[in-house]
């Protein structure tokens, strides 16, 4: 399938892209408001569920399992999405350009997540007598430190988004008719004119902040898993867990990116930005993440299975083989087996529906897996015992739990919808930069693309 010309898509100009994106950005149609109202009402329902739980109070920890699981799910999808774009930017991948902004816009979800962490911390038992990484000087741990680190991560994420959006905000400022929205945008653009110096600062700043985000994220996952999961399970000495969580998050984030791109193609008609190239290229890391997901899980499983000390055996029974076997198997299929079987086929990888479908499965699997980890941990009555005994049973969600899960997710999406009318959801300047570095050349018998990489 090499016979040349038709394989090369026509390369649009910077102006075309700008005009098109600005057009979509400007219009606030009925469909848009429809989606917003649906998400908003779901979000309100979530708040109702949350209030019901709040009424029961924090004495019964097992009530809050699903709430915490939801937080972890949101952290491992929306909060991890900026990492995808930051990493691809560091790797100078050209195909990233059209969806970096989508992933960065998701960073606003962290506002909601940070709010949700507060009650979760309230539900935690005291540190005394149970394992924790705060060792002998709690000094306001875990609450203070958790809030601080979550807050910092959210801050970095949003400032990263803002910085990288400046040129497009400027474009919007010049493009929008005078209105309140335009005034907000003008303020946000902070008088960006695109001076050479400004660009250089933008590049450096985005690189540095991206690096910080990537360095801080594993710490957040470590806090999550050690304070809210491992610390509540007796004798659960699983040093790999934070890393496992990071890998799972990257996988879920990539999956979520694919899903969002697919939906935006279908609903908002962004076909020309999210082409097969994006799906195909993102499917490759997705496959490797899926393999790593299994690898990390297996590394801890084989160690415990072989060690077979009483504490280990009981926890394997609890989390994998007995009480939570169902969720384990489902997420095992959705996060590892399914993606592996589907994505090894190039035809599937090199399509729109394939990666999107796998991504959707992965997102669901991630949710179930987080539920397995955190609800299980919260259902343990006494974290201070030496060996988990008796082994608690699995726990289905109650109506409030369902409301919380659905409401929180739709709340994050709502924030995304809202912010994408302030910050263009497609990064015009990055696409423009990419277009400048591409040319089509006649290579003897056929036409080929030449892609240049700037330093």
């Amino acid at each position: 399938m090499h016979n040349g010309e038709e394989e090369i898509p026509v390369i649009p100009t910077h102006q075309e892209v700008a005009a098109d994106v600005m057009g979509r950005y400007q219009e606030l149609g009925r469909r848009y408001w429809g989606w917003v109202t649906v998400l908003a009402s779901l979000f309100l329902l979530g708040i109702v569920g949350f209030v019901i739980r709040l009424a029961d109070g924090f004495d019964d920890r097992s009530n809050w399992g699903y709430h915490v699981a939801t937080i972890s799910f949101l952290v491992s999808t929306f909060m991890a999405m900026p990492i995808i774009s930051a990493g691809l930017r560091l790797a100078k991948a050209n195909w990233r350009r059209s969806f970096t902004r989508v992933t960065e816009n998701m960073a606003v979800a962290s506002l909601l997540i940070v709010l949700m962490v507060i009650p979760a911390l309230a539900a935690l038992p005291p540190l005394e007598g149970r394992m924790n990484i705060w060792f002998e000087f709690p000094l306001g741990a875990p609450n203070l430190w958790n809030m601080m680190s979550f807050g910092t991560l959210a801050l970095i994420g949003i400032s990263l988004l803002w910085t990288l959006a400046l040129p497009d905000l400027a474009a919007a400022r010049d493009h929008l008719p005078p209105s309140r929205r335009q005034r907000i945008v003008r303020w946000m653009a902070m008088g960006w004119v695109g001076h050479v110096r400004q660009w250089r600062v933008l590049y450096m700043g985005s690189l540095i902040m991206g690096a910080f985000y990537m360095l801080l994220y594993p710490l957040i996952q470590t806090l999550m898993i050690s304070d809210f999961h491992a610390g509540l399970l007796p004798a659960w000495k699983d040093a790999i867990l934070p890393a496992t969580q990071v890998v799972a998050s990257l996988q879920a984030a990539a999956g979520m990116t694919l899903v969002v791109m697919y939906v935006m193609r279908r609903v908002a008609g962004y076909d020309r930005y999210f082409t097969v190239e994006q799906f195909w290229s993102l499917a490759k890391p997705l496959l490797s993440f899926s393999l790593l997901w299994f690898y990390f899980w297996w590394a801890s499983f084989i160690t415990f299975w072989y060690g077979r000390q009483p504490g280990e055996s009981s926890l394997i029974q609890f989390l994998i083989l007995d009480s939570w076997r169902g969720p384990m198997m489902v997420s095992f299929f959705l996060n590892f087996l399914g993606p592996l079987i589907a994505l090894v086929w190039n035809p599937v990888r090199r399509s729109i529906w394939g990666p999107a479908l796998v991504g959707a499965g992965i997102v669901v699997g991630a949710l179930i897996n987080q539920i397995r980890l955190y609800v299980a941990a919260f259902s343990v009555a006494d974290p201070t015992q030496h060996v988990l005994d008796p082994i608690p049973a699995g726990q289905w969600p109650g109506p409030p739990d369902v409301l919380i899960v659905v409401g929180a997710i739709s709340g994050c999406l709502l924030l995304f919808m809202l912010v994408s009318k302030l910050i263009p959801v497609i990064s015009i300047w990055e696409i423009g930069e990419g277009l400048r570095l591409v040319k089509v050349r006649k290579f003897y018998g056929r036409y080929l693309r030449v892609i240049a990489k700037s330093h």
């Binding site: 399938m1 090499h2 016979n3 040349g4 499983f301 084989i302 299975w305 072989y306 077979r308 290579f443 003897y444 018998g445 056929r446 080929l448």
Partner: protein, 169 residues
């Protein structure tokens, strides 16, 4: 049948020669190109070689997996000796060994597949020129003896430095 080998220095000339030959009803599957380094597919408008390489690793993986299964399960069952209170048929250790054997089978068969699909090994080089690995590009034409002259003409006119001929019956 006869065989011609035209030696070119400029890839562009080869591409032109190919077009010219195709124009003169030389069937594409009778044209072949020898080059010292890979060019993007279709650089010379040659016909796309089809292959079934991707079947090989699958078959290999299957064979490797079954060998692993046979070995691990078989030895554990036929020598029922308890060690460390582990179950007599311990699946996790079996998984590791079966995995390794699967990958080994897949890789060995891939290499075999590559050799088979690229029609290697060949006993003799046949019509060939050592300058090809020095940067020349060879254009090979398989044609009935009566069209040799025409083919040679096309090759020389489009810039072949030398045309080698070989008669086959």
């Amino acid at each position: 049948m006869a065989k011609l080998l035209g030696l070119f220095q400029d890839p562009q000339q080869v591409a032109d020669a190919m077009d010219e030959l195709k124009k003169n009803e030389f069937p594409p599957q009778d044209l072949d190109i020898y080059s010292g380094s890979p060019f993007p597919e279709g650089t010379f408008g040659e016909h796309d070689p089809n292959h079934r390489l991707f079947m090989f690793p699958l078959v290999g993986a299957l064979i490797g997996f079954s060998i692993g299964l046979l070995w691990t399960a078989g030895t554990q069952i036929s020598y029922p000796m308890v060690t460390g209170g582990k179950p007599l048929l311990s699946i996790p250790p079996m998984t590791i060994i079966m995995y390794e054997n699967t990958m080994l089978g897949a890789i060995i068969f891939t290499v075999l597949g590559v050799l088979f699909e690229s029609r290697l090994p060949k006993r003799s080089l046949g019509l060939y020129d050592t300058r090809i690995t020095e940067g020349y590009i060879g254009l090979v034409v398989d044609c009935p003896a009566d069209r040799v002259a025409q083919a040679e003409k096309v090759l020389t006119t489009s810039g072949a430095e030398e045309v080698k001929k070989e008669e086959e019956e």
